[in-house]
Symmetry: C3
């Protein structure tokens, strides 16, 4: 039956062209990472390369070599799935350590124990006491999640630990009682153990819109602790934060360009409350290990934050200290490839979000200083949630279902697989339609063949199949909104 | 078959009486607008007047004359649908201008380019620089919506422009850098372009309750800009707003009654941040063109705000300046006929909402002054959303589905049509039931005939059909709430 | 058919053992209340005791005596259902009084007019003027709910009155104009009448997560009134509340242990804004009448609040004044048996919630003092909502559907009945499965008999049926979340 073949080839070609157009963006922005990205090509290439005769542009030998190399890399990059599975059979305390390390890295959306280990290294470089508090926070948050019988998979991915590490760290950072004030561990443990409760509660709300909770539990709990005790407290005094009440002294002649550039890694470090540029650099390396795209967006976000600070006449000290960067780092990572499938439109959206986040960061820092509070990562949470709630009629901004969020490279593969699945589905549907048509007149098949041939020649990305996904989505939204009319 | 006829007539009579009771309220409150309202009677009158013999109270000739007059008026009143359709075939820039003008008027829930043009006239009368900023804001908000591929129908109705005009205007109004400070256009353009993103995000949330976003994006973005920069900023300083810290001087002997009355149009003008009473007057005219009911509620709301200010011991200066009126104007319009079908119960609800809004306005103004922020239109948004979330067991407070919100007169017609549709549906259902009954005993039909005859005589408004709508709604809510039990 | 019998007995045994394990907790914590609790055993005991031969541990005679006694007690304990039904046929004003009294008690989640009467007694003991304001508030809130045609059952349960009494009371408590300032009744009546509107609006939102509105309408409306007028207002001045700006003087040597213990009943009294320990004691009695479990959790919560205050270095004066207790009282009642079915895990959760609530209370009090506002019961609302949104994979923390929330003892019975229903359902399901199996091989039934016999011997609580409920719930959640993917 010729109809079947023609649609199958046509669908595959369209899918492939859509994929290549995505890949091309990647090549432009991250030329040196090409080997890592190429893997996403494999599933298709391996499955049915013989069907698409003329598409064998890359020799199979090179692909195999790459395959082997990537297999080696994959053991410690991405989410270290193999290691994770091996861990499942180990001693409980070792498992717990794995979860804690993954939790430490999950702050940056990285589910990788090696990254977590490096991050703890960076924290120790910054301050022993802070690192200890961070570890205690992660540990007790994870234990609390176990006690409350939260989802084991989520615990194992470190999703109950990342708020804990931030709570522990930042409570130590903002404490006015100095280092090694051991009593601080008490509220630290209490607040860390509250993390899974607040996370679970917020997830109940956010899941209605298929949104993650981000670091909202951390923001809520640290602000709660700080404002509950305040600067004037005998047991747990906080550093004094006051609203600005006079014009800051900004003389452009005094600007220190070296410090300005250093503010980019410092901004990445400030995600964990660290102002040491070396610590920031170590964090960047830990990101690179897991996902170079995440790493690139982190640096980009920090730079955007720095520029925004200059544009809004922020005191230079704040910019050098990385206060303008860390929220943008997180926002840029979240939008750029983590929760949206990465296309160049999404890449632009991520940069826009970083700018918006910087603006919002200034607003939140100013308004929360009235209560003696720092901005924490509220600006990131609010801006990223806003951008994730965005709905458009274009299929180039495709929000991933929350359950499928892993890391940028993998989401690509998923998007591709979804396209493929859609293609097969679409194929079957078209086949069915054609069969119907054939029974009517038997002329339409040739026309559709011609149509697909044309597409084959053009090799652009109108992504017919993706479109169908979108349409289904829209229909779905329509049907669900009908419920509330 | 006698059963069919008796139910048909009965249903029509009940529907008609329900309609007349609505109409009567209109006659009482807006006697002079009777010709405009009467149009809503036409569809029924034209369709099946011969079936309801005794109801021909108005001669057809008069109705036809009215019809012609109203056809003329309809070209520039309401939402100028004919003009909108003609526009669709025009040059893109002309279309864009249409959308910008509609956007300017949509602040007042008016989808009418002529009203928008008059409003821009009022703004120019107030301040050239403000008007320019407003125009830039509307323009870039609309362009941003186009780039983000938002719903074309919504863009064409100006629904992505109204937050833009407010953002542009109010950023200029609250800037402390004086007029013609051209750098202000940069944050103005950025914030205007963020409007569709924030609108879309909020719509994703609010649509779950079938609620509009109102001016929330404007509130969020202007507050964000103001608090991010603040009074002590080198580039974008804001006017200094501080909380009250001493008893205001209020001497009733000093009250200026003329200024007090003038505060009503000034209150309408303050919706766009304008304190010129002539500008306010022009805005009132622009409202009247599109919808006299909207206009009446605007004036009523402003008056309610003024009274509330006096009742809560506000400084007279604030009242004269219209600060107590503008939120009530918007709240009163929104509840009074825009999002609820107008009945006299809804009219009372709108007045209650205006009082609540004035109270809330004072509360929000006081609390936001702590952050150096004005109240913007937060009070309107929050009070109107609260009143729209209200659920009652009466069928006299009927919330329109968001997709059907247009303007008060049209919503009447829709309500009526819905009643009619329900009547037909109900009729069919009853017919079916009767057929079933007839097969059982053939006695029930006469009883039901008697019942309907009685209703015919009474001519009051128990709105059997409407009731059914309500019941269906309630059932629907029940079934959806079952999902969450 | 042997299969039917074996599963029936097995299911009943498992259910019974699950029930006894719940009951045992009760015996441990509230030994003296045993007679009241035992009633929950009756439905099962009466229905099919002959089927479970060996379980007749309690002689029927004693049970009958208890039954008679409990019948007497039930006339004025619990929700006084019999009295409520008798009331339905009485004069309207008498009914209204019943609703007002129930409303007064509903602040503590008690639907009991006798408790309400005693509470009004306590209020009169505290302050005549406050009691009057509270009465006016409850009355007008109930009337407003009637006007707005809210659900009659909810009105009759006092669910529209409890926000009214708090609004009335607290507006009087925080007024700086002194007692018997009659003008205060005007905003009191206005705000009370707004209660049902705000309640209804919040319920529209919260019902999506099957959450109650708690005292949120009261919090919103009282804060609104206070910040709208403020300390510097000619007509309605509020007491001056300012943020802390220096270290409080805390000397542990000066602590007054008697006052510290007295702070427990004072904390209960502060739920209604009363600082008189006798008033607090009266409130405790009123709670005991309706539900001893509620009463115990109230006292426990107040004690937890006091301890938290000491732990967070609060000024002793605040602790003595009960400011640390009242939110914990409400949070502990809400979580401990009211909205969750009481197990010992839930009991621990209630205590955790009380600690969290105390922490949150301090945070909210400090941050709201910036606006000159008291904490009201925001901490209770937010902490209880957080803990009610918690989802776990354990079946020992079982959130009751909102429509079935009554009072702790009844919820037990409901849980038990649900278990029983599930058992019957499960039974039928298993029967069906077994029939299928029998047609296949006819060997499985004996194996399952053995299995159930084993369970019978063990008499522990793996709660197979309850598990099934949970699984159904989880499936349900899955299917509903699918809608949003």
């Amino acid at each position: 039956m010729p109809g079947q073949h023609c649609t199958k080839v046509g669908a595959l070609v369209t899918m492939r062209s859509a994929f290549w157009s995505i890949n091309r963006n990647c090549f432009q922005t991250l030329q040196e990472l090409q080997p890592l990205m190429a893997q996403s090509n494999l599933p298709v290439g391996n499955d049915k390369p013989q069907e698409v005769g003329g598409e064998k542009t890359r020799p199979l030998a090179l692909q195999k070599a790459r395959d082997n190399f990537l297999k080696g890399v994959s053991y410690f990059s991405g989410d270290m799935e193999v290691f994770g599975k091996w861990m499942e059979k180990q001693f409980f305390l070792l498992q717990l350590l794995d979860w804690v390390l993954r939790g430490a890295a999950q702050v940056m959306f990285v589910n990788n124990p090696l990254s977590g280990l490096i991050i703890f290294g960076g924290l120790i470089l910054q301050n022993y006491w802070w690192a200890l508090n961070g570890f205690v926070g992660t540990l007790f948050a994870t234990i609390s999640a176990l006690i409350l019988q939260q989802n084991r998979g989520a615990i194992a991915a470190g999703l109950y630990g990342y708020n804990g590490i931030l709570v522990g760290l930042l409570m130590a950072v903002f404490s006015n009682a100095g280092n090694w004030y051991w009593w601080l561990l008490l509220p630290n443990i209490f607040m860390s153990m509250m993390c899974p409760i607040v996370s679970s509660a917020l997830a109940s709300i956010n899941s209605r819109w298929d949104l993650p909770v981000f670091t909202l539990p951390f923001n809520i709990l640290v602000c709660l602790h700080m404002v509950a005790t305040g600067h004037y407290n005998h047991y747990f005094p906080q550093v004094l934060i006051q609203p600005r009440s006079e014009l800051p002294n900004i003389t452009w002649a005094e600007i220190d360009v070296a410090k300005l550039f250093m503010s980019v890694p410092v901004g990445v470090g400030q995600v964990y409350g660290c102002d040491n540029p070396w610590t920031g650099g170590i964090f960047i390396i830990s990101l690179f290990i897991s996902s170079p795209i995440t790493c690139a967006h982190a640096v980009l976000g920090s730079a955007v934050g720095m520029v925004s600070g200059l544009a809004l006449a922020a005191p230079f000290g704040d910019i050098y200290f990385g206060l303008w960067g860390y929220n943008c780092v997180l926002a840029c990572i979240a939008i750029g490839g983590m929760f949206y499938a990465l296309t160049w439109q999404v890449h632009l959206l991520a940069i826009t979000c970083a700018f918006f986040c910087a603006y919002l960061g200034s607003a939140i820092a100013n308004s929360m200083s009235t209560f003696g509070l720092p901005a924490c990562t509220w600006p990131f949470c609010l801006s990223a949630l806003t951008f994730l709630l965005l709905t458009t009629e274009t299929n180039r901004i495709f929000k991933l279902p929350l359950a499928k969020v892993t890391y940028p490279r993998k989401t690509w593969e998923q998007l591709q697989r979804a396209i493929e699945d859609e293609a097969i589905l679409n194929e079957k549907e078209q086949l069915r339609l054609e069969l119907e048509k054939m029974e009517e007149g038997r002329e339409e098949c040739k026309a559709s063949e011609g149509e697909y041939d044309q597409m084959y020649v053009e090799d652009n990305a109108p992504a017919v199949e993706h479109n169908t996904t979108e349409e289904k989505e829209i229909k779905h939204i329509d049907s669900s909104s009908d419920d509330y009319v």
